[in-house]
Symmetry: D2
């Protein structure tokens, strides 16, 4: 079913951008799990808008109310439902969208799929706002994975072609190897110092501060032009033991792909060296095995920690391509679906010139849900 995810857990996401509320039901979480709500809210805060220059100035009070499934701060084993009530929505901003679909948005396809009765305000069920409930579920999954020694780290790999430097896996393991974690940012899901996200400066998770500043400059520039820009997020999942996953249609790649492509604006996904693997030879690409303290390891990790859909014990790595925010200030060509005439459209409202920074915790949430689904 379209708005549900999971085999062993079952996440259902409901709501439209401007409906009374949005939220999620998460089934399959065992009883007796303590949820650290402060940690969860601070994780969700990373997705919230209006926190800095490169995100939209809209304010949302996205604190979820838990209707069921927890008693106090502990899960009771039955479905967990949490709601974020929508307030202060300016639906009238969207009146024009009733007739004129925004290029790059799902307005037109939603119209064809659901007809006149679709909820077009604010993008309806297609809105990026629906990633907030995914972060509720994913934030819980991150905590449950941390219990098992599994951590998710994420960086912005590029924005508008400006690339970060360094190697995410190496970077995140740096604290582990050196015993120091300087320059690593707590991503709200780790109990230890060693697995942290990049991002010494502010909220911008890159390994290289300089490249991070350049990326922010690109965003600022595009914003000034009334335009937007896309980027790539890279993710590494540490601590997944070898042997997790299934062959064929329910491997780690398949499950991650199903949820990652559920994040709006995602257009590409690659595991390990991904598209680069298509350009090199087998002798370059294969990850030879060796032994380290009696453990089977690979020296390289071109396969991204996955062989045959199943984890090999190395970090699981993938990269996600986000397209530029389709809502831009520039005038665009569109069509009036009522009069069936070509027209010009200036998209109303204020929008993120780049959704990549806010998408970072969403990717972490998705990654955590897919992996936890195998391990619950």
């Amino acid at each position: 079913m379209s708005s549900s995810f999971g085999n062993n857990i079952k996440l259902t996401i409901f709501g439209q951008s401007h409906s009374k509320g949005i939220g999620m039901t998460l089934e399959g979480i065992p009883a007796g799990k303590k949820i650290d709500f402060d940690r969860l809210y601070s994780f969700m805060e990373r997705r919230a808008p209006g926190r800095n220059a490169y995100s939209t100035p809209r304010k949302e009070a996205d604190k979820p109310e838990f209707l069921s499934g927890v008693v106090g701060d502990t899960t009771c084993g039955t479905p967990i439902t949490a709601v974020i009530y929508n307030t202060n929505t300016r639906s009238q901003d969207y009146d024009i969208l009733k007739d004129i679909p925004r290029p790059g948005h799902a307005d037109y396809t939603g119209f064809v799929r659901y007809g006149e009765s679709r909820d077009y305000t604010g993008g309806g069920h297609f809105s990026g706002r629906l990633t907030a409930p995914m972060c509720i579920a994913g934030g819980i999954a991150l905590q449950l994975l941390a219990e098992k020694g599994i951590f998710v780290s994420t960086r912005i790999a590029s924005i508008g072609g400006v690339r970060d430097e360094g190697n995410l896996t190496e970077y995140c393991l740096r604290g582990y190897k050196s015993g120091s974690a300087e320059g690593l940012r707590d991503n709200g899901n780790a109990d230890t110092e060693m697995f942290r996200n990049p991002g010494a400066e502010g909220d911008f998770p890159t390994i290289s501060d300089e490249q991070g500043r350049k990326m922010q400059a690109v965003i600022a520039e595009k914003k000034a032009e009334g335009d937007s820009v896309g980027g790539v997020i890279e993710c590494a999942i540490f601590g997944v033991p070898a042997g997790v996953g299934d062959p064929m249609f329910d491997g780690i790649e398949n499950r991650l792909a199903q949820i990652i492509f559920g994040i709006p604006a995602v257009k590409g996904l690659e595991f390990g060296n991904g598209f680069e693997a298509a350009e090199i030879t087998g002798s370059q690409n294969n990850d030879p095995f060796y032994l380290e303290n009696g453990q089977v390891k690979t020296g390289t990790n071109n396969c991204g920690g996955i062989l045959g859909g199943i984890s090999d014990g190395m970090p699981i790595t993938f990269r996600v391509a986000f397209k530029p925010t389709p809502s831009i200030a520039k005038e665009q060509d569109s069509v009036n679906l009522t009069t069936m005439e070509e027209t010009k459209l200036v998209v109303p409202g204020r929008h993120d010139p780049c959704i990549v920074p806010r998408a970072v915790p969403v990717v972490e949430a998705a990654a955590a849900l897919a992996i936890y689904d195998f391990l619950v």
Copy 2:
């Protein structure tokens, strides 16, 4: 479940490389559909090994036997099961693999996941041979889609960094626009001349013959070196009407991704302009709407025909990255899992130096199954 795919249809694939048989059960196909078995077998023939210089010289008699679900050449509405009996398997070739996993294969992860009792011979259930049953199901889906005016075209976009030229969508529509289909190859699923695959010369589906020859030269070169090479397959699905798909976790991208990552050796997947979208601006990336004969169209197709998980009526386009065949003739480092000592391994048997050409129909099969699942 791991070896099952589909919401409205249900494909289950069974078998190991060297088990008595491999096959598939396909549920949900309506009664009364005529299957053109000759067309199906000739489609499957495109996946068969041993047909040319760049594929393995092993011979397989991959003609499926249909056990149920068809009466004569017509579906009867209940599950269709077809089996390909395995004959002439040389399991002894694989004795060494009991202890020593091949780098880049699922031997090690299969061992950890299933233990001593796994079927390691020939890669077991992880073998590329299991794509044959996917082609049975996909070949049927292609015929059922053709009935609805939907066609799948595929080309090899690159091999080892050598890129094809031209634009697949433009190329495939060329016959449609000009009324001529010169240089287009029938891909076994089209009733008309206009939607054909690239590939004037032999079986090598590229738009540019010259680039195709260069790719084949790269394969021959790597083969001579005892090495292998990867590549990218590009696919376009024509004729899907606007409004097909669902938001969030069951959109076209999600469903295609689940099955595409079920093809062995796939490491990346991108829709439309994919990773390129991450490098450009919204004003460049958005596909503005216009009217053509009263139909809503977009001039560009950066979104790959999908917005919010739902088709917009333009061709659905995606690219799939295949890693190089992990089985190479060169000696590699590995580990003996019984003695737990590091060792050298020379992979036995003969193998495709590049699986990309044989993967072309598999991608078409997967594409057809995912799309047909929405439209059955």
Copy 3:
């Protein structure tokens, strides 16, 4: 997943008896369906407690709030979520249940399944209160079925061994045949007069008023004794065309059974003549075919309108056995799970001496959801 139902629709029920709220998410309902909320609330009212002598005097304000999936009174195609907020719950009544499980309830099995962290108050997720969200979903399904000319009629067939008279199918068709509907009660889901529930007197849906009064006398008697009593509900679904359903595991019986056994206190289910079929011969039991106005009909309906899991066009009929309310005022033997000593228990709170009357709309809701799932 445990709290989800449906193949084409997907119903998820969440909440515990005393959690902040209980509710449901219903996916798969098409866009553009008008919901008559007054009709829905009056349908739900039939399940509400405290309406008469034989139901518990507790008052619930069970009016659901719709958070998503509807715009105004019309569905928009994406998941519908509705919540009933729990207020005025007297959790302290249930303190004793932390240690001492009530016989006949799920207190003990819930403890073993979920451990100390289970929500035992008010029965938690096992509470009969969770049938309220099922009635939200089912009430919507009843309206959508009525659009298709499909109606669900239900009567109390017996209480504590006192049996109703007459034949439900004949009775419900009486108005249709005579053009009069005297003595038939509107069950809140029919647009016409002809398909109504039994129950001329008050809310007690029997064909025979006299037998209905006798049943109510039995309930009153058991209540006075501090005891409770069970009963049987019979249901007939009119208007399902022939050919609905699937063989084997997803036939009409299978789907109805899955949801019917999801209603607390159900211990038996039979279709058509059910257990009686086991006592007679084939020549007595087979329903011979004949023609009526060019339509294939059967003169009898021993099969309950279902052959091979698929409807034959006759009314679909089934009977559901409900056990007596396990909560009784009499002292019972139990065990203290903390001290592990045998003990006596007097169940706190006030409870229905017979849940059958309130279960009538719940059976209708379940029936509607199962049938609509095939026809959406």
Copy 4:
């Protein structure tokens, strides 16, 4: 999907009565499980026709061939597929059924559902023959449950109104309590003497030999009359620990019901005292808890070992009503679907006058699959 069952395992059944083969795919069985094939075949033998006076004289060679999922006698973790090839089918017997549906069979509903292209020969996919693959899967599940100390015992509770005597649970535990197992029959799934099926005399599993003889006499009598007769099978599952199952839609009753109603001819299902519970009071029906050697037990087992969908540690008990074989020698009324005229039909072929004896292992198979699905 219609022909698939299971949440954690996935059983898919394929084939028609007269197709090239029938069979099953069973996913989710762990690797490394030894299957005792002799035991499995002898279990399947109990379902085979032609073994005695009250079953059809047709001969089937129902020995399955395993195509995949086992290496030698051991599972390898990936899907298990087994096929029974159909031979010696007399399709011409069924030519008349192309036009004239047999009362009580799915011929008419299959025609409406699937149209002209349905496979009507021998009942197609609706045939009782499809219970053979269910027995392959169920026979494996029985062996895997026995490993966990779980055993399934079954008796014929009644035939045509003639009832067996005694209490199944008491009877099966008799050997356990007395240390003797006289008069208990090995049902092919137990490693110990203590959990056996009733049935001292021949294959007719009743507790009372005398009642068993009376039942056989009824069958013989109805056969002589060219008629058939139904019956009830009772089943008890021993050894399921407390805490297995889930609330609401995936409880033990729901899962058992889904698969039990997948057996052809089943018209009713009740758990514990079932419909009897509807006639008594709460104080009679509740099963009070007591302690036995520090274990929580109930003295009675009216609930059939299930509270709130979850096992309470007592034997799980249920009864299944089978209608009389619809194929009888007597002339019946039917309709010619081609000419649309009323007609008389004499059903061709030879058929069981009572399918209940052969259904006993099928009920065991279904029970084992449903329970194993929770415990895999």
